[in-house]
Amino acid sequence: MMKRLQVVVPALLCVSVLALTGCGKKADTDAAMKTDAAAPEESLDSKGTGISEGRTSEGMLPVYFDFDESAIRADQTSRIQLNADFINKGTVNVRIEGNCDPRGTNEYNMALGERRAMSAKKALLDLGVAEAKLTTVSYGEERLLLHGEDEMSWAQNRRDDFVIVE
Protein backbone atom coordinates (compact mmCIF):
# COMPACT_ATOMS: atom_id res chain seq x y z
CA MET A 1 0.00 0.00 0.00
CA MET A 2 2.73 2.45 0.94
CA LYS A 3 4.69 1.83 -2.18
CA ARG A 4 2.04 3.36 -4.39
CA LEU A 5 4.12 6.10 -5.86
CA GLN A 6 1.88 8.90 -6.88
CA VAL A 7 2.24 11.28 -9.71
CA VAL A 8 2.54 14.49 -7.82
CA VAL A 9 3.59 16.95 -10.47
CA PRO A 10 0.36 16.90 -12.46
CA ALA A 11 -1.51 17.42 -9.21
CA LEU A 12 0.44 20.59 -8.69
CA LEU A 13 0.37 21.87 -12.25
CA CYS A 14 -3.28 21.34 -12.93
CA VAL A 15 -6.03 22.57 -10.71
CA SER A 16 -8.08 19.51 -11.43
CA VAL A 17 -8.33 16.32 -13.42
CA LEU A 18 -10.84 18.08 -15.64
CA ALA A 19 -8.33 20.78 -16.51
CA LEU A 20 -5.72 18.14 -17.27
CA THR A 21 -7.98 16.20 -19.59
CA GLY A 22 -8.74 19.52 -21.28
CA CYS A 23 -5.01 20.13 -21.97
CA GLY A 24 -4.63 16.67 -23.43
CA LYS A 25 -7.51 17.07 -25.86
CA LYS A 26 -6.20 20.37 -27.10
CA ALA A 27 -2.80 18.86 -27.82
CA ASP A 28 -4.44 16.01 -29.74
CA THR A 29 -6.41 18.44 -31.84
CA ASP A 30 -3.31 20.49 -32.65
CA ALA A 31 -1.38 17.42 -33.71
CA ALA A 32 -4.22 16.23 -35.91
CA MET A 33 -4.40 19.63 -37.65
CA LYS A 34 -0.65 19.66 -38.32
CA THR A 35 -0.71 16.32 -40.13
CA ASP A 36 -3.46 17.82 -42.25
CA ALA A 37 -5.05 14.39 -42.70
CA ALA A 38 -8.54 13.30 -41.79
CA ALA A 39 -8.29 11.32 -38.59
CA PRO A 40 -10.47 8.26 -38.35
CA GLU A 41 -13.65 8.57 -36.34
CA GLU A 42 -13.31 7.53 -32.71
CA SER A 43 -15.53 6.98 -29.76
CA LEU A 44 -16.70 9.95 -27.74
CA ASP A 45 -15.82 7.96 -24.61
CA SER A 46 -12.11 8.08 -23.92
CA LYS A 47 -10.17 6.25 -21.30
CA GLY A 48 -9.16 8.24 -18.26
CA THR A 49 -5.65 9.51 -17.90
CA GLY A 50 -5.23 7.32 -14.84
CA ILE A 51 -3.84 10.38 -13.16
CA SER A 52 -5.54 11.64 -10.06
CA GLU A 53 -4.74 14.31 -7.56
CA GLY A 54 -3.24 13.37 -4.22
CA ARG A 55 -4.25 9.77 -3.60
CA THR A 56 -7.88 10.39 -4.54
CA SER A 57 -9.58 8.02 -6.98
CA GLU A 58 -10.16 9.41 -10.45
CA GLY A 59 -13.44 11.25 -10.80
CA MET A 60 -13.21 12.84 -7.36
CA LEU A 61 -10.92 15.52 -5.94
CA PRO A 62 -9.06 15.86 -2.66
CA VAL A 63 -10.09 18.51 -0.18
CA TYR A 64 -7.43 20.72 1.44
CA PHE A 65 -7.30 22.19 4.94
CA ASP A 66 -5.69 25.06 6.82
CA PHE A 67 -2.95 24.30 9.35
CA ASP A 68 -4.23 22.55 12.49
CA GLU A 69 -7.83 22.98 11.26
CA SER A 70 -10.45 20.42 10.35
CA ALA A 71 -13.23 22.72 9.06
CA ILE A 72 -14.00 22.62 5.32
CA ARG A 73 -12.69 25.85 3.78
CA ALA A 74 -15.07 27.94 1.65
CA ASP A 75 -12.84 27.43 -1.41
CA GLN A 76 -13.14 23.64 -1.02
CA THR A 77 -16.93 23.34 -1.00
CA SER A 78 -17.09 22.95 -4.78
CA ARG A 79 -14.83 19.91 -4.46
CA ILE A 80 -17.11 18.42 -1.82
CA GLN A 81 -20.03 19.05 -4.22
CA LEU A 82 -18.18 17.35 -7.10
CA ASN A 83 -17.37 14.34 -4.90
CA ALA A 84 -20.95 14.16 -3.63
CA ASP A 85 -22.29 14.18 -7.22
CA PHE A 86 -19.81 11.47 -8.19
CA ILE A 87 -20.76 9.21 -5.28
CA ASN A 88 -24.49 9.88 -5.62
CA LYS A 89 -24.65 8.96 -9.28
CA GLY A 90 -22.63 5.74 -8.87
CA THR A 91 -22.80 2.66 -6.73
CA VAL A 92 -19.32 2.88 -5.27
CA ASN A 93 -18.30 3.00 -1.63
CA VAL A 94 -15.74 5.60 -0.68
CA ARG A 95 -13.16 5.75 2.08
CA ILE A 96 -12.30 9.27 3.20
CA GLU A 97 -8.63 9.37 4.22
CA GLY A 98 -7.55 12.25 6.48
CA ASN A 99 -3.93 13.41 6.26
CA CYS A 100 -1.81 16.04 7.99
CA ASP A 101 1.40 17.89 7.34
CA PRO A 102 4.38 16.71 9.42
CA ARG A 103 4.20 19.58 11.85
CA GLY A 104 2.48 18.58 15.05
CA THR A 105 3.12 15.33 16.90
CA ASN A 106 2.14 11.99 15.42
CA GLU A 107 -0.69 10.79 17.66
CA TYR A 108 -2.23 14.25 17.80
CA ASN A 109 -2.08 14.39 14.00
CA MET A 110 -3.72 10.98 13.83
CA ALA A 111 -6.69 12.46 15.69
CA LEU A 112 -6.60 15.65 13.59
CA GLY A 113 -6.69 13.61 10.37
CA GLU A 114 -9.70 11.73 11.69
CA ARG A 115 -11.47 15.01 12.36
CA ARG A 116 -10.68 16.14 8.79
CA ALA A 117 -12.11 12.92 7.39
CA MET A 118 -15.19 13.30 9.56
CA SER A 119 -15.70 16.91 8.45
CA ALA A 120 -15.80 15.79 4.82
CA LYS A 121 -18.09 12.90 5.69
CA LYS A 122 -20.53 15.24 7.40
CA ALA A 123 -20.43 17.64 4.42
CA LEU A 124 -21.14 14.74 2.03
CA LEU A 125 -24.03 13.55 4.18
CA ASP A 126 -25.46 17.07 4.06
CA LEU A 127 -25.41 16.78 0.26
CA GLY A 128 -27.46 13.61 0.37
CA VAL A 129 -24.76 10.93 0.20
CA ALA A 130 -25.87 7.71 1.90
CA GLU A 131 -23.93 7.13 5.11
CA ALA A 132 -23.51 3.42 4.27
CA LYS A 133 -21.34 4.39 1.31
CA LEU A 134 -18.76 6.22 3.45
CA THR A 135 -16.02 5.19 5.83
CA THR A 136 -13.24 7.30 7.34
CA VAL A 137 -9.63 6.57 8.20
CA SER A 138 -6.85 8.84 9.39
CA TYR A 139 -3.23 8.44 8.41
CA GLY A 140 -2.14 11.51 10.40
CA GLU A 141 1.36 12.33 9.16
CA GLU A 142 2.29 8.70 8.53
CA ARG A 143 1.85 8.75 4.74
CA LEU A 144 3.19 12.08 3.58
CA LEU A 145 2.65 12.83 -0.10
CA LEU A 146 5.36 15.48 -0.22
CA HIS A 147 8.37 15.55 2.09
CA GLY A 148 9.46 19.16 1.67
CA GLU A 149 9.68 21.47 4.66
CA ASP A 150 7.87 24.34 3.02
CA GLU A 151 4.34 25.67 2.82
CA MET A 152 3.73 24.23 -0.67
CA SER A 153 4.50 20.71 0.55
CA TRP A 154 2.65 21.16 3.82
CA ALA A 155 -0.45 22.48 2.04
CA GLN A 156 -0.54 19.39 -0.22
CA ASN A 157 -0.24 17.11 2.82
CA ARG A 158 -3.16 18.71 4.72
CA ARG A 159 -5.70 16.80 2.71
CA ASP A 160 -8.64 14.43 2.64
CA ASP A 161 -8.42 11.81 -0.08
CA PHE A 162 -11.52 10.08 -1.44
CA VAL A 163 -10.78 6.50 -2.38
CA ILE A 164 -13.12 4.03 -4.04
CA VAL A 165 -13.23 0.76 -2.09
CA GLU A 166 -14.79 -2.57 -3.03
Partner: protein
Amino acid sequence: MNKSAFALIFLLLSCFSLPSPSQAADRVYVDITASSTRKINFAVPWFANAQAGQDQSKGKELADTLAKALEFHGVIGISPTAEYGGTQSANWRQLGVDYAVLGQFALSGKNLSLEIRVLDIATNQILLGKSYTGTVQQQDEMLFKFCDSVIEALTGKPGIASTKIAFVSYTRNAKEVYLTDILGHKLRQVTRHRNLAVSPRFTPDGKKLSYTSYHSGNQNLYITDLSQSKTTRLISKRKGLNLAPAWSPDGRYMILTLSINGNPDLYLCDSNAKIIEQLTDRSGINVSASWSPDGSQIVFVSDRTGKPHIYMMNLSTRQVQRLTFEGSENSEPSWSPTENLIVYTSLRNGVYQICTIKPDGSAAQQLTTDLSHHEMPSWSPDGNQIIFAKRGGNRHQIHAIMKNGSFQRPIFSFPGSNTYPRWSR
Protein backbone atom coordinates in the same frame (compact mmCIF):
# COMPACT_ATOMS: atom_id res chain seq x y z
CA MET B 1 16.88 -10.93 13.98
CA ASN B 2 17.39 -13.39 16.78
CA LYS B 3 14.02 -14.47 18.07
CA SER B 4 15.32 -16.80 20.73
CA ALA B 5 16.92 -13.92 22.55
CA PHE B 6 13.56 -12.62 23.59
CA ALA B 7 11.89 -15.90 24.37
CA LEU B 8 11.96 -17.02 27.95
CA ILE B 9 15.64 -17.58 27.91
CA PHE B 10 16.78 -17.89 31.41
CA LEU B 11 15.75 -21.50 31.84
CA LEU B 12 19.16 -22.68 30.76
CA LEU B 13 20.97 -19.85 32.34
CA SER B 14 22.25 -20.54 35.81
CA CYS B 15 23.70 -17.98 38.11
CA PHE B 16 25.67 -18.34 41.33
CA SER B 17 26.97 -15.71 43.65
CA LEU B 18 30.64 -16.14 44.27
CA PRO B 19 31.82 -15.94 47.85
CA SER B 20 32.32 -12.29 48.67
CA PRO B 21 32.47 -10.31 51.88
CA SER B 22 28.96 -9.63 53.14
CA GLN B 23 27.86 -6.19 52.10
CA ALA B 24 28.10 -3.69 54.90
CA ALA B 25 24.72 -2.56 56.18
CA ASP B 26 25.86 1.04 56.21
CA ARG B 27 26.77 1.03 52.50
CA VAL B 28 26.38 4.47 50.99
CA TYR B 29 24.57 4.30 47.67
CA VAL B 30 25.20 6.58 44.75
CA ASP B 31 22.34 8.91 43.93
CA ILE B 32 21.84 8.15 40.25
CA THR B 33 19.87 11.35 39.68
CA ALA B 34 22.16 13.93 41.26
CA SER B 35 23.55 16.01 38.43
CA SER B 36 26.66 17.08 40.30
CA THR B 37 27.83 13.55 41.07
CA ARG B 38 31.09 12.68 39.36
CA LYS B 39 30.88 9.49 37.35
CA ILE B 40 32.25 6.37 39.01
CA ASN B 41 35.31 5.26 37.10
CA PHE B 42 35.28 1.61 36.02
CA ALA B 43 37.86 -0.40 34.17
CA VAL B 44 36.62 -3.46 32.30
CA PRO B 45 39.77 -5.20 31.04
CA TRP B 46 39.43 -8.04 28.57
CA PHE B 47 37.98 -11.21 30.03
CA ALA B 48 40.59 -13.96 30.37
CA ASN B 49 40.10 -17.35 28.76
CA ALA B 50 40.13 -19.94 31.53
CA GLN B 51 41.82 -22.29 29.08
CA ALA B 52 45.20 -20.59 28.85
CA GLY B 53 46.70 -20.37 25.41
CA GLN B 54 43.28 -20.59 23.72
CA ASP B 55 41.66 -17.87 21.63
CA GLN B 56 41.36 -14.64 23.60
CA SER B 57 39.25 -12.66 21.09
CA LYS B 58 35.99 -13.51 22.88
CA GLY B 59 37.39 -11.80 25.97
CA LYS B 60 37.49 -8.43 24.22
CA GLU B 61 33.94 -8.79 22.98
CA LEU B 62 32.62 -9.70 26.46
CA ALA B 63 34.46 -6.81 28.14
CA ASP B 64 33.26 -4.38 25.49
CA THR B 65 29.59 -5.34 25.88
CA LEU B 66 29.72 -5.20 29.67
CA ALA B 67 31.50 -1.83 29.59
CA LYS B 68 28.87 -0.40 27.23
CA ALA B 69 26.02 -1.72 29.38
CA LEU B 70 27.54 -0.22 32.54
CA GLU B 71 28.21 3.12 30.84
CA PHE B 72 24.61 3.19 29.53
CA HIS B 73 23.35 3.88 33.07
CA GLY B 74 24.81 7.37 33.05
CA VAL B 75 26.64 7.14 36.39
CA ILE B 76 29.64 5.10 35.29
CA GLY B 77 32.59 6.23 33.21
CA ILE B 78 34.81 3.63 31.55
CA SER B 79 38.61 3.82 31.43
CA PRO B 80 39.56 3.06 27.82
CA THR B 81 41.42 -0.25 27.52
CA ALA B 82 43.97 1.55 25.33
CA GLU B 83 45.19 3.35 28.46
CA TYR B 84 46.36 0.10 30.05
CA GLY B 85 46.43 -2.43 27.21
CA GLY B 86 43.34 -4.34 28.35
CA THR B 87 45.29 -6.31 30.92
CA GLN B 88 43.75 -7.38 34.22
CA SER B 89 46.89 -6.54 36.17
CA ALA B 90 47.14 -2.80 35.55
CA ASN B 91 47.88 -0.31 38.31
CA TRP B 92 44.25 0.74 38.86
CA ARG B 93 45.03 3.24 41.55
CA GLN B 94 47.43 5.08 39.26
CA LEU B 95 44.80 5.09 36.49
CA GLY B 96 42.26 6.69 38.82
CA VAL B 97 39.96 3.68 38.59
CA ASP B 98 37.37 3.19 41.35
CA TYR B 99 36.32 -0.33 40.39
CA ALA B 100 37.91 -2.94 38.13
CA VAL B 101 35.77 -5.70 36.64
CA LEU B 102 37.78 -8.92 36.39
CA GLY B 103 36.11 -11.49 34.15
CA GLN B 104 37.00 -15.00 33.08
CA PHE B 105 35.28 -17.10 30.43
CA ALA B 106 35.32 -20.71 29.29
CA LEU B 107 33.87 -22.01 26.03
CA SER B 108 32.77 -25.59 25.79
CA GLY B 109 30.88 -26.50 22.63
CA LYS B 110 27.81 -24.27 22.49
CA ASN B 111 28.14 -23.31 26.13
CA LEU B 112 29.75 -20.31 27.69
CA SER B 113 30.69 -19.94 31.35
CA LEU B 114 31.47 -16.58 32.89
CA GLU B 115 32.98 -15.71 36.22
CA ILE B 116 33.03 -12.00 36.97
CA ARG B 117 34.22 -10.05 40.01
CA VAL B 118 34.14 -6.36 40.76
CA LEU B 119 37.16 -5.18 42.71
CA ASP B 120 36.81 -2.06 44.85
CA ILE B 121 40.20 -0.43 44.36
CA ALA B 122 40.00 1.83 47.44
CA THR B 123 39.45 -1.06 49.85
CA ASN B 124 40.98 -3.82 47.72
CA GLN B 125 37.84 -5.89 48.44
CA ILE B 126 35.49 -7.72 46.11
CA LEU B 127 32.26 -5.70 45.80
CA LEU B 128 30.43 -8.39 43.88
CA GLY B 129 31.18 -11.72 42.24
CA LYS B 130 28.96 -13.97 40.14
CA SER B 131 29.26 -16.89 37.77
CA TYR B 132 26.96 -17.70 34.87
CA THR B 133 26.54 -20.61 32.52
CA GLY B 134 24.47 -20.47 29.35
CA THR B 135 24.67 -20.85 25.62
CA VAL B 136 26.94 -18.63 23.58
CA GLN B 137 23.72 -17.09 22.21
CA GLN B 138 22.92 -15.93 25.76
CA GLN B 139 26.18 -14.13 26.37
CA ASP B 140 24.61 -10.65 26.29
CA GLU B 141 21.81 -11.75 28.64
CA MET B 142 24.38 -13.01 31.16
CA LEU B 143 26.45 -9.80 30.90
CA PHE B 144 23.31 -7.63 31.20
CA LYS B 145 22.24 -9.53 34.34
CA PHE B 146 25.65 -8.99 35.85
CA CYS B 147 25.54 -5.31 34.88
CA ASP B 148 22.18 -4.90 36.62
CA SER B 149 23.60 -6.50 39.79
CA VAL B 150 26.54 -4.09 39.74
CA ILE B 151 24.20 -1.11 39.36
CA GLU B 152 22.11 -2.45 42.26
CA ALA B 153 25.21 -2.83 44.43
CA LEU B 154 26.15 0.78 43.68
CA THR B 155 22.77 2.52 43.71
CA GLY B 156 20.46 0.25 45.69
CA LYS B 157 18.24 -0.34 42.63
CA PRO B 158 18.77 -2.85 39.83
CA GLY B 159 20.05 -1.55 36.52
CA ILE B 160 18.16 -1.49 33.23
CA ALA B 161 20.50 -3.49 31.01
CA SER B 162 18.10 -6.48 30.92
CA THR B 163 15.27 -4.49 29.38
CA LYS B 164 13.66 -4.29 25.97
CA ILE B 165 12.84 -1.40 23.67
CA ALA B 166 10.06 -1.43 21.10
CA PHE B 167 9.99 1.03 18.22
CA VAL B 168 8.52 1.53 14.77
CA SER B 169 10.89 1.35 11.83
CA TYR B 170 10.09 2.66 8.37
CA THR B 171 11.99 0.51 5.91
CA ARG B 172 11.05 -1.15 2.63
CA ASN B 173 7.93 1.02 2.32
CA ALA B 174 6.29 -0.32 5.47
CA LYS B 175 6.19 0.73 9.11
CA GLU B 176 6.66 -2.29 11.39
CA VAL B 177 7.21 -2.75 15.12
CA TYR B 178 10.62 -4.08 16.23
CA LEU B 179 12.14 -5.07 19.57
CA THR B 180 15.73 -4.71 20.62
CA ASP B 181 17.97 -4.53 23.69
CA ILE B 182 19.58 -1.40 25.13
CA LEU B 183 22.69 -1.74 22.95
CA GLY B 184 20.80 -2.68 19.79
CA HIS B 185 22.73 -5.95 19.53
CA LYS B 186 19.78 -8.17 18.73
CA LEU B 187 16.90 -6.98 16.59
CA ARG B 188 13.58 -8.80 16.36
CA GLN B 189 10.79 -7.84 13.96
CA VAL B 190 7.49 -8.14 15.81
CA THR B 191 4.90 -7.22 13.15
CA ARG B 192 4.96 -8.37 9.57
CA HIS B 193 1.75 -6.69 8.35
CA ARG B 194 3.63 -5.02 5.47
CA ASN B 195 1.57 -1.91 5.99
CA LEU B 196 1.50 0.78 8.64
CA ALA B 197 1.88 0.00 12.34
CA VAL B 198 2.06 2.77 14.95
CA SER B 199 1.93 3.52 18.69
CA PRO B 200 3.33 0.35 20.29
CA ARG B 201 2.62 0.09 24.03
CA PHE B 202 3.87 -2.64 26.37
CA THR B 203 1.49 -4.06 28.93
CA PRO B 204 2.82 -3.15 32.40
CA ASP B 205 4.24 -6.67 32.92
CA GLY B 206 6.20 -6.32 29.65
CA LYS B 207 4.85 -9.62 28.35
CA LYS B 208 2.55 -8.28 25.67
CA LEU B 209 2.66 -5.44 23.20
CA SER B 210 -0.35 -3.56 21.89
CA TYR B 211 -0.10 -1.57 18.68
CA THR B 212 -2.29 -0.03 16.01
CA SER B 213 -2.16 -1.33 12.45
CA TYR B 214 -3.88 -0.34 9.21
CA HIS B 215 -3.45 -3.59 7.29
CA SER B 216 -7.18 -4.39 7.29
CA GLY B 217 -8.06 -0.94 5.87
CA ASN B 218 -9.33 0.45 9.16
CA GLN B 219 -7.01 1.63 11.92
CA ASN B 220 -7.39 -1.27 14.39
CA LEU B 221 -5.84 -2.15 17.75
CA TYR B 222 -3.94 -5.42 18.17
CA ILE B 223 -2.12 -7.12 21.01
CA THR B 224 0.57 -9.75 20.66
CA ASP B 225 2.12 -12.05 23.25
CA LEU B 226 5.88 -11.49 23.06
CA SER B 227 6.72 -15.03 24.23
CA GLN B 228 5.88 -16.14 20.68
CA SER B 229 6.21 -14.60 17.25
CA LYS B 230 3.43 -16.19 15.17
CA THR B 231 0.13 -14.60 16.13
CA THR B 232 -1.53 -11.35 17.14
CA ARG B 233 -5.02 -10.61 18.38
CA LEU B 234 -7.44 -7.92 17.15
CA ILE B 235 -9.00 -6.26 20.20
CA SER B 236 -10.62 -3.08 18.88
CA LYS B 237 -11.97 -2.52 15.38
CA ARG B 238 -14.41 0.31 15.90
CA LYS B 239 -14.89 2.54 12.89
CA GLY B 240 -12.24 5.25 12.77
CA LEU B 241 -9.55 5.56 15.44
CA ASN B 242 -8.47 2.72 17.73
CA LEU B 243 -5.36 4.41 19.01
CA ALA B 244 -2.68 4.60 21.68
CA PRO B 245 -3.94 2.78 24.76
CA ALA B 246 -2.66 3.91 28.17
CA TRP B 247 -2.37 0.74 30.25
CA SER B 248 -3.28 1.07 33.91
CA PRO B 249 -0.35 0.20 36.23
CA ASP B 250 -2.09 -3.06 37.23
CA GLY B 251 -2.69 -3.99 33.58
CA ARG B 252 -6.45 -4.43 34.06
CA TYR B 253 -7.61 -1.37 32.14
CA MET B 254 -6.66 0.75 29.19
CA ILE B 255 -7.63 4.25 28.12
CA LEU B 256 -8.06 4.32 24.38
CA THR B 257 -8.76 7.03 21.82
CA LEU B 258 -11.81 6.09 19.73
CA SER B 259 -13.83 8.19 17.30
CA ILE B 260 -17.02 6.09 17.20
CA ASN B 261 -19.13 8.97 18.50
CA GLY B 262 -17.89 11.41 15.87
CA ASN B 263 -14.93 12.86 17.73
CA PRO B 264 -11.55 11.61 18.97
CA ASP B 265 -12.37 10.95 22.63
CA LEU B 266 -10.85 8.95 25.49
CA TYR B 267 -12.61 5.78 26.63
CA LEU B 268 -11.94 3.71 29.73
CA CYS B 269 -11.85 0.07 28.63
CA ASP B 270 -10.97 -3.27 30.14
CA SER B 271 -7.82 -5.10 29.07
CA ASN B 272 -9.72 -6.57 26.08
CA ALA B 273 -10.72 -3.07 24.93
CA LYS B 274 -14.36 -3.51 25.98
CA ILE B 275 -15.72 -0.04 26.72
CA ILE B 276 -16.53 0.69 30.36
CA GLU B 277 -17.04 4.44 30.12
CA GLN B 278 -16.46 7.41 27.84
CA LEU B 279 -14.13 9.85 29.65
CA THR B 280 -14.12 12.92 27.38
CA ASP B 281 -17.01 14.20 25.32
CA ARG B 282 -16.80 16.28 22.17
CA SER B 283 -14.22 18.71 23.47
CA GLY B 284 -11.89 18.74 20.46
CA ILE B 285 -9.11 16.18 20.11
CA ASN B 286 -8.35 13.92 23.08
CA VAL B 287 -5.43 11.55 22.61
CA SER B 288 -2.17 10.08 24.00
CA ALA B 289 -3.26 9.26 27.54
CA SER B 290 -0.75 8.11 30.18
CA TRP B 291 -1.54 6.77 33.64
CA SER B 292 -0.01 7.95 36.95
CA PRO B 293 1.90 5.17 38.78
CA ASP B 294 -0.68 5.16 41.62
CA GLY B 295 -3.50 4.76 39.09
CA SER B 296 -5.46 7.76 40.35
CA GLN B 297 -4.91 10.15 37.43
CA ILE B 298 -4.11 10.39 33.75
CA VAL B 299 -2.41 12.98 31.60
CA PHE B 300 -3.49 13.42 27.98
CA VAL B 301 -3.44 15.83 25.04
CA SER B 302 -6.39 17.97 24.11
CA ASP B 303 -6.87 20.94 21.78
CA ARG B 304 -10.02 22.07 23.58
CA THR B 305 -8.57 25.60 23.92
CA GLY B 306 -7.47 25.72 20.27
CA LYS B 307 -3.92 24.37 20.41
CA PRO B 308 -2.72 21.03 21.77
CA HIS B 309 -1.84 21.15 25.47
CA ILE B 310 -1.43 18.67 28.29
CA TYR B 311 -4.37 18.07 30.61
CA MET B 312 -4.78 15.93 33.70
CA MET B 313 -7.89 14.04 34.73
CA ASN B 314 -8.58 12.82 38.23
CA LEU B 315 -10.14 9.42 37.60
CA SER B 316 -12.30 9.41 40.72
CA THR B 317 -13.81 12.87 40.26
CA ARG B 318 -13.37 13.09 36.42
CA GLN B 319 -12.19 16.64 37.00
CA VAL B 320 -9.98 17.91 34.18
CA GLN B 321 -7.25 20.50 34.66
CA ARG B 322 -4.81 22.04 32.19
CA LEU B 323 -1.17 21.36 33.09
CA THR B 324 0.98 23.17 30.49
CA PHE B 325 0.91 26.88 29.67
CA GLU B 326 4.44 27.46 28.34
CA GLY B 327 5.27 26.64 24.71
CA SER B 328 2.94 27.12 21.75
CA GLU B 329 2.02 23.41 21.65
CA ASN B 330 2.51 20.61 24.16
CA SER B 331 1.80 16.96 23.54
CA GLU B 332 2.91 13.33 23.94
CA PRO B 333 2.84 13.22 27.76
CA SER B 334 4.22 10.21 29.60
CA TRP B 335 4.02 9.84 33.37
CA SER B 336 7.13 8.43 35.06
CA PRO B 337 6.61 4.85 36.26
CA THR B 338 8.35 5.66 39.55
CA GLU B 339 7.46 9.21 40.59
CA ASN B 340 5.31 12.28 40.04
CA LEU B 341 7.06 13.61 36.98
CA ILE B 342 5.66 13.94 33.46
CA VAL B 343 7.75 14.09 30.32
CA TYR B 344 6.26 15.69 27.20
CA THR B 345 7.08 17.36 23.90
CA SER B 346 6.91 21.14 23.79
CA LEU B 347 7.08 23.32 20.69
CA ARG B 348 9.68 26.01 21.53
CA ASN B 349 10.60 28.51 18.80
CA GLY B 350 9.37 26.10 16.16
CA VAL B 351 11.34 23.10 17.45
CA TYR B 352 10.00 20.16 19.45
CA GLN B 353 11.93 19.85 22.72
CA ILE B 354 11.69 17.31 25.53
CA CYS B 355 10.46 18.82 28.79
CA THR B 356 9.43 17.56 32.22
CA ILE B 357 6.94 18.99 34.70
CA LYS B 358 5.46 17.89 38.02
CA PRO B 359 1.73 17.17 38.10
CA ASP B 360 1.16 20.26 40.27
CA GLY B 361 2.60 22.37 37.43
CA SER B 362 5.87 23.13 39.22
CA ALA B 363 9.51 22.37 38.33
CA ALA B 364 9.05 22.72 34.57
CA GLN B 365 12.36 21.87 32.92
CA GLN B 366 13.51 21.78 29.29
CA LEU B 367 15.89 18.83 28.80
CA THR B 368 16.90 19.27 25.16
CA THR B 369 17.96 22.48 23.44
CA ASP B 370 19.48 21.81 20.03
CA LEU B 371 17.47 22.70 16.94
CA SER B 372 16.48 19.17 15.86
CA HIS B 373 12.99 17.92 16.58
CA HIS B 374 12.84 15.71 19.68
CA GLU B 375 9.64 13.68 19.76
CA MET B 376 7.75 10.78 21.37
CA PRO B 377 9.42 10.70 24.79
CA SER B 378 8.87 7.75 27.12
CA TRP B 379 10.51 6.54 30.33
CA SER B 380 13.04 3.88 31.14
CA PRO B 381 11.60 1.23 33.49
CA ASP B 382 13.63 2.64 36.42
CA GLY B 383 12.40 6.18 35.75
CA ASN B 384 15.94 7.59 35.40
CA GLN B 385 16.13 8.02 31.63
CA ILE B 386 13.95 9.15 28.77
CA ILE B 387 13.97 7.62 25.33
CA PHE B 388 12.82 9.62 22.30
CA ALA B 389 12.96 9.92 18.51
CA LYS B 390 15.32 12.64 17.29
CA ARG B 391 15.07 13.95 13.79
CA GLY B 392 18.20 14.34 11.68
CA GLY B 393 17.67 15.12 7.99
CA ASN B 394 14.60 13.24 6.83
CA ARG B 395 14.85 10.37 9.30
CA HIS B 396 14.44 9.82 13.02
CA GLN B 397 16.84 7.91 15.29
CA ILE B 398 16.24 6.64 18.80
CA HIS B 399 18.06 8.63 21.48
CA ALA B 400 18.12 8.54 25.27
CA ILE B 401 18.80 11.23 27.87
CA MET B 402 19.03 11.22 31.67
CA LYS B 403 16.01 12.82 33.32
CA ASN B 404 18.21 15.73 34.44
CA GLY B 405 19.04 16.51 30.80
CA SER B 406 22.57 15.05 30.81
CA PHE B 407 24.10 12.25 28.73
CA GLN B 408 22.02 12.62 25.56
CA ARG B 409 23.12 10.11 22.95
CA PRO B 410 21.82 7.95 20.09
CA ILE B 411 21.48 4.49 21.63
CA PHE B 412 21.52 2.47 18.43
CA SER B 413 21.48 3.00 14.72
CA PHE B 414 19.30 0.80 12.56
CA PRO B 415 18.46 1.46 8.91
CA GLY B 416 15.39 3.49 8.06
CA SER B 417 13.53 6.03 10.13
CA ASN B 418 12.92 4.88 13.71
CA THR B 419 10.14 6.33 15.84
CA TYR B 420 7.60 5.58 18.65
CA PRO B 421 10.12 4.14 21.15
CA ARG B 422 8.77 2.37 24.25
CA TRP B 423 10.74 0.71 27.02
CA SER B 424 9.92 -2.16 29.35
CA ARG B 425 11.49 -4.73 31.69
